[in-house]
């Protein structure tokens, strides 16, 4: 955990160094804030971004010196808004810190429970367990994950749930704020839950999930993120 905290400090220091170069940009740049939709969840109202954070929003953060890393755009159609992918959990923290600093808002990642509630309408394909023996629990979910195309599509391509929140059922899995390992607080968490067509978790350092495959199961096609907020609308 010491190592992880130290790395985070290093990453932030790198951003501070970058932002020094971009003081001019701080005046020039007004962050493009996400379009929010108010969704009623069991725990109360939550503003949820209609789309995942886009590559152009991320580029703005990078240009302004708020984000140290700029991922490849992937394979977008020209002139269209498409989600940023290939960003790890530490990169995302930089983006949110920059956006909140600029906008005065308090955007954050959804918890896993919030994400599931927002996406409750989307059927999660259930398949019979491959093995019922508890000693084979490690292998029981094999084959339950659908292979999907990883081609990056423009925002809105995968449709919306009735609240209007789009692309929850797409091929971009989303970082959550829920630690995937029991007993860790967020600051020290080594891996977070990533939500999408199936639940998975990723080390905070991973930008691109495995291409070839895991020892068991299927990696998510792409990883991006969506913002939520409890700020008054």
């Amino acid at each position: 955990m010491f190592t992880l905290a130290a790395l985070k400090v290093t990453a932030l220091a790198a951003v501070a160094g970058l932002s020094g170069l971009a003081i001019f940009g701080q005046f020039a740049t007004r962050p493009v804030e996400p379009e929010m939709i108010v969704v009623e969840l069991a725990g109360g109202a939550l503003s949820v971004a209609k789309y995942e954070v886009s590559w152009s929003q991320w580029k703005q953060c990078r240009d302004a010196g708020g984000c140290a890393f700029l991922p490849d755009p992937g394979m977008p159609a020209a002139g269209q808004s498409f989600p940023v992918t290939g960003v790890n959990r530490l990169d995302v923290e930089q983006f949110i810190g920059w956006l909140n600093g600029k906008s005065g808002k308090t955007y954050r990642l959804p918890t896993q429970a919030e994400w599931r509630e927002i996406a409750a309408e989307i059927p999660r394909p259930k398949r019979a367990k491959l093995f019922s023996d508890p000693r084979l629990a490690w292998a029981a979910d094999y084959g339950s994950m659908q292979q999907v195309s990883a081609r990056i599509e423009s925002a809105g391509h995968f449709g919306a749930v009735s609240s209007g929140v789009a692309d929850l059922a797409g091929n971009v899995w989303e970082w959550t704020s829920t630690c995937a390992v029991a007993g860790f607080d967020t600051a020290a968490c080594p891996a977070f839950v990533v939500e999408g067509a199936h639940e998975t978790s990723m080390s905070v350092f991973v930008r691109d999930p495995a291409f070839g495959g895991c020892a068991i199961g299927l990696p998510p096609a792409n990883i991006g993120f969506r913002l939520v907020s409890t700020d008054p609308v």
Binding site: M75, W138, G143, A150, R151, G212
Partner: protein, 389 residues
């Protein structure tokens, strides 16, 4: 995507390729050679002269080709004497998608699959191959069997242009597993091989596989894993380029190939082709034969969670198999064989244990094994939890 099959189309594509310097001089000689092969009454008499066996007296059987990872129906121990095993390969240039991102390659295939189908015969049998270059294709092709003797493995006798066929017969005198591949000349040799044009032949000893002591080894299932390295060119923005026909990417592809770093290393022609619903299957107690071929580049198969019980690393069944290996080596341009008796149920990953290639380039397959867990072999004594203090 289908190419329009008209003579003008094919001719213009071919002349285009020749104008670009892509077609070798043998493309011109091809038709003449092929026409002698077409004279099926004349060709056998030439071959009989050199043959020690009276070919005309041998029984003929047709072997139905199946797409990998499966093997054609075959006997493990031969009944009766040598046969002529007739097989047909239709060469088809076709666009394949090789990963989840939708990356495309104009593959050059034997019978439409990467790798091509496996042929299984016994030592002393004859393979009689009809090789057809479909008229929808644009390139010249042939076949070099590492299991065959003479004429560049048959490559010199099988050059066929689009719309032509040739028939080649060769005697299987070396028991083992062997690569075959296209070898039409010059840079076209590696170019065709890294566009999928390769497969394997298994020549079984007539009395079947044996361990080092000569005890028979049987298998309950067999899988053919063809490993393919692809070298896909990228555009200025780093995206994989797409092309409208086979051969069009030649200059770009050669630039990527000469750096020797593949963009993809996959089993059965595509990332994930042997995982999920297409994972290989077995049962506890079954012995499975895995044949691994790599026509171009070294590999190192490893079964995560299992072993290689008996391994013919170099592919020769006349050599005594190694036993109980963790990882074995497949030389580029060769095939090897391994048997493993599954002793535990669950998921096994069959990988190229250069794990960068397995996880980041695609060389991962899975085996789903059903049966009863054996606590004696393995047991989770304590689940992960806080360290004891």
């Amino acid at each position: 995507m289908t190419l329009k099959n008209t003579p003008q189309f094919t001719a213009s594509r071919r002349s285009l390729l020749q104008a670009m310097g892509l077609a070798s001089a043998s493309a011109v000689a091809g038709p003449a050679l092929a026409s002698t092969m077409h004279a099926e009454t004349a060709a056998p008499s030439l071959l009989v002269k050199a043959a020690a066996t009276d070919i005309s007296a041998l029984p003929r059987v047709k072997q139905k080709m199946v797409a990998p990872p499966f093997l054609p129906e075959h006997e493990q121990v031969a009944t009766g004497g040598p046969k002529i095993v007739e097989v047909t390969f239709n060469i088809e240039e076709k666009k394949l998608v090789i990963d989840k991102e939708g990356t495309e390659v104009w593959a050059m295939t034997y019978n439409g699959s990467v790798p091509g189908p496996m042929i299984v015969v016994h030592e002393g049998d004859y393979v009689e191959l009809t090789l057809r270059n479909l008229p929808t294709n644009v390139l010249e092709h042939n076949i070099d069997f590492h299991a065959a003797t003479g004429a560049l493995g048959g490559g010199a006798l099988t050059k066929v242009s689009p719309g032509e066929q040739a028939v080649l017969r060769w005697k299987a005198i070396k028991p083992g597993v062997f690569v075959y591949h296209c070898a039409p000349g010059d840079v076209m040799i590696p170019y065709h091989v890294v566009h999928g044009m390769n497969g394997a032949v298994m020549v079984l000893p007539r009395d079947g596989l044996k361990d080092a002591a000569g005890k028979p080894l049987k298998y309950d299932r067999a899988y053919f894993i063809g490993e393919q390295d692809f070298y896909i060119p990228r555009d200025e923005e780093g995206n994989y380029k797409k092309y409208s026909m086979a051969g069009e990417n030649l200059a770009d592809a050669l630039d990527v190939m000469r750096k020797l770093i593949p963009t993809h290393v996959v089993f059965n022609g595509a990332q994930g082709a042997l995982t999920g619903d297409n994972a290989m299957k077995a049962e506890v107690g079954e012995t499975v034969l895995f044949i691994h071929a790599q026509a171009n580049r070294d590999s190192r198969p490893h079964l995560i969670g299992g072993h290689g019980d008996f391994v013919w690393e170099g592919g020769s069944f006349n050599d005594k198999p190694d036993t109980n290996l963790e990882t074995w080596f497949i030389r580029g341009g060769s095939a090897g064989a391994m048997t493993y008796k599954f002793r535990q149920p669950g998921i096994y990953a069959y990988v190229n244990h250069n794990l960068i290639e397995a996880v980041m380039l695609g060389a991962t397959a899975h085996v789903v094994v059903k049966g009863e867990w054996n606590d004696d072999l393995m047991m989770q004594v304590a689940k992960p939890g806080p360290i004891d203090t």
